[in-house]
Symmetry: C2
Subunit: 546 residues, 2 copies
């Protein structure tokens, strides 16, 4: 904690007022809940302190403190809930010193290793408003206007993807029988929901059979005459599909991962052949997944080809555009998503390139009735024919995150998002150019969007590397070097790049390659920041002995 924060805490002796309530638990607790003037004043004063922390936090350049994890975790080893309510002042000090101080500055312009960014300032006051209203979006009785607001926001993004007719949107936007999209906690739940809908729709009730929902997967495959069920996509598919395959009972071995090419796009020929093989084996293809922005390296599959393959196979076509979906806002880059409008379902994350806070995933459906395949009711809450959003959802109670989504779409607009997307790609190309021009680095793939993989080549390997003659042993040493470099940079805490492991690189080595992974989405990141991050790597590398 900075000394100014410490001073602020000392200066604010408002906590003394608490002392007057020491005579009983009842008073102490009721004061927490009271909406009396004194309570408001205390809330305002807490607000002042946390606002000051927030501003310091947001204005910092360093991506982190350099505290060791082992030292940090020692601060969090008390497993006992205090018997009496803790003193506010000391608890706030504790949070300031231990949590805020050692949190990751995910919005730093030099923290360019994960899918985080600075956020627009309006999300912070809205977060407080959302928490004050504390709507529960599961049902209309606890989220009246918000249920409709959520449907509207989802319809807006649906239209941006599918661009169906005015008539279509008029018919479905506020129709409680229709589901244009489902707001969920994140991309993982969105992907799971999509394949769950696909599975249930493929194996629905028929001729007296009650469907997979009621009778289970084994009975359903048996009834429909399948030998098994698979999900097919790129080997760069997000690991949420492993979760989905496990959870849904098909097993992760039935998640068929097709190799991606060196540009991180699924091999279309191999995909086509796999589909044919699965059909020959009489396997149900629950879904064919196209990835629009792999987590690993930002590659976008050829969605239009996958759409055609899925169409021919009569299989559900899901696009995981958790990262890359907002490319639809860019006139210049939208072409990369060509074919997304043929998807049966699409995942997009609000907390990624829509620049909204954590906790906003979405899945969209081209058929507004597909999500009926997972509908559930309960007498005490979810009623058929109601506007309860929880009827067709994996989750139950959930917060009013739609407020952020709605505000983002309205306040940033198509052109605003276009600017953000274009800028991210422009700066990524700048970084790629820097890397290519610097002898210290090797660019591992041309960036498809705004993710970049590269690595550091230690001096003694540069000549051999330049003539493409690195051995597997050389690569193993370089891997260790890059892992060490990434960890050192992270530990020092000034700047941050993540790392990943690539199976295959352009020189065809069989050793997996440890890669640096940059994600450039933060509008505050400048070209100078990018150079600073690379230069820090060069400085750190000079000190590494491997």
């Amino acid at each position: 904690m900075t000394s100014s924060k410490q001073e602020m805490l000392n200066k604010n002796s408002f906590f003394e007022s608490e002392q007057t309530f020491d005579n009983g638990i009842e008073e102490q607790v009721m004061q927490l809940f009271a909406s009396c003037n004194q309570a408001i004043s205390i809330e305002k004063q807490i607000d002042e302190i946390t606002d000051s922390w927030s501003q310091d936090f947001l204005n910092a350049i360093d991506s982190n403190t350099n505290i060791d994890l082992e030292l940090l975790l020692e601060k969090f080893t008390d497993s006992k809930i205090p018997v009496q309510p803790s003193n506010f002042e000391s608890y706030l000090k504790y949070i300031g010193n231990n949590v805020v101080a050692h949190s990751i500055h995910t919005s730093s312009p030099r923290f360019i290793g994960h899918m985080t960014s600075a956020l627009p300032s309006f999300v912070r006051p809205l977060a407080k408003l959302m928490t004050a209203m504390n709507q529960n979006a599961v049902k209309i009785e606890t989220a009246k206007a918000l249920s409709f607001c959520e449907r509207e926001a989802l319809a807006m993004l649906h239209r941006q993807i599918y661009n169906f007719s005015d008539n279509f949107y008029n018919q479905h936007i506020q129709n409680n029988l229709s589901t244009l999209g489902i707001l969920v906690s994140g991309g993982t739940v969105a992907n799971i929901t999509a394949v769950w809908c696909a599975r249930n729709a493929s194996l629905g009730p028929k001729d007296g059979f009650l469907g997979v929902e009621k009778e289970g997967l084994a009975a359903a495959l048996d009834f429909y005459g399948y030998k098994g069920a698979v999900i097919i996509g790129s080997d760069l598919m997000h690991f949420s599909f492993d979760k989905a395959a496990d959870l849904m009972g098909i097993g992760t071995n039935s998640l068929i991962r097709i190799p991606a090419d060196r540009n991180n796009r699924v091999d279309i020929q191999a995909l086509r052949q796999t589909v044919v093989n699965c059909q020959a084996k009489n396997l149900l293809i629950i879904a064919i997944v196209g990835v629009a922005g792999t987590t690993d390296s930002g590659g976008v599959d050829s969605l239009i080809d996958i759409a055609e393959i899925a169409h021919q196979a009569n299989a559900h076509f899901h696009v995981d555009a958790a990262w890359g979906g907002p490319l639809i806002f860019s006139e210049q880059y939208r072409y990369k998503l060509a074919g997304i409008e043929k998807a049966d379902s699409v995942t997009i994350d609000g907390h990624k390139q829509l620049y909204l806070p954590m906790g906003i995933g979405m899945v969209f459906f081209s058929d507004p009735h597909l999500a009926g395949a997972i509908e559930k009711q309960a007498s005490y809450t979810m009623r058929k024919g109601s506007f309860d959003l929880g009827k067709r959802a994996l989750e139950g109670s959930r917060p009013g995150m739609a407020l952020f989504l709605h505000a983002g779409l309205k306040l940033i607009g198509v052109k605003g998002y276009e600017f953000l997307i274009n800028e991210g790609i422009r700066k990524t190309q700048y970084m790629a150019a820097c890397i290519s021009a610097m002898p210290e680095f090797e660019l591992l793939a041309e960036p498809d969007t705004n993710l970049l993989t590269y690595r550091y080549i230690p001096k003694r390997f540069r000549r051999v590397h330049s003539i493409n003659q690195l051995t597997d042993i050389d690569n193993q040493i370089i891997n260790n070097f890059n892992e060490c470099l990434q960890k050192s940079q992270r530990q020092i805490g000034h700047t941050f790049i993540s790392r990943t492991t690539k199976k295959d690189i352009k020189f065809g080595s069989e050793t997996p390659i440890v890669a640096m992974r940059a994600v450039i989405a933060n509008p505050l990141t400048t070209e100078e920041d990018i150079r600073a991050v690379l230069n820090e790597q060069i400085e750190i590398a000079a000190k590494i002995q491997i």
Copy 2:
């Protein structure tokens, strides 16, 4: 919107400063993200407006406006994202007039129909701090201190449930191989996660078989020699178990619902017999579920008996204590949860009786290694041996909700939560006494905790009702009356009680009974509020013609 809000918006002409940026999208967007002084000042001014809305919202008594749903939804029918960023001023006005004004006052002392409450004031500033820091709890690289803080908070609640030794907690609290609990978005995901872990642990890798996770459910049941798989619990189990059974591929028909008695507790004899029958049929019992606080009526199953049945059957024992879990804080009422400490897994919701904002569910495990059964890795993010919390979780990216949980446990403390729990039960008993004393109402069951079901008996049925001679047709008329009464009260918007349908009542009628459902958890709700809610029902009933 009140006129004072309108004035405030008109008074605040700070939005004029925006005009200077009209010359380009870049400036407009960058201003949203900039942490320059002007941006801070705009954020502060938005904050002032939303704070004023929040205070008006929190201080209101009415639970809602009386706008018709059909009129309200008309306000949310624009499916087009604006091309240009919207004007802040008009957007805030729009949100104020349409969303805030017509949101449900879930914290009103007279909104006592759902599992919502007033929240302690510290959650509102913390919400803004959390959003400002925007940690992603999926991995240590995006949530450093928070990962440990979350583990500590979960360990604290784990200890409150299981009370294992100091040594146990020292060993596991910050051990990355151990999982004492998982923080999730809500009770539904917690319940799904629990039975997912149970299924995978029962059907794990063995003798060359790779386990259900990899090979799928059908192969696993086959390998282990089971004819099928079931989950068994009360027919008042939450509908999240239907989702779990559907999702996991066993089918909802394999979710065996045992009738509950008139006190809303599962019939132990019938449960025991069902377990024996399932074993005789060679069915895998994935889990036996005990409910601690049914959503419908607050009943708590006899957990100690279910624990013994599960133990004998060698089956996973899960307790869904999403609602009732915090009874563990009460010396007086903790006995109702006797046996919970024998559970293999326990669900508790933070956003219910821990008085935290929406979006905080938890599942706890007595065996710190059980969650290993669902562990997944990914080269770009989740690493074996790391502290990444997302390794063993259904969800991926998620917000730092642990901050609220940690603060709640510390700032309210054991005694604070005890007071809140005891007060809820005391006031529920008061309401039950009022209802019993009023000729207009019939109490449908003695409240087990702080949920209450009752109904209105129209005057012309009171005599027949008093001598237990209502016919099924009478009950049907009374049902219609109560449904109409509940809807009218909701529509008027002053006060709120929810409704449910009970299969069985004390008089043994075969007609399902429409019941009013009160949930008394809000510390701001007074005895006067309770009388006001009942009196309003009597007033409304006088005008209903059925």
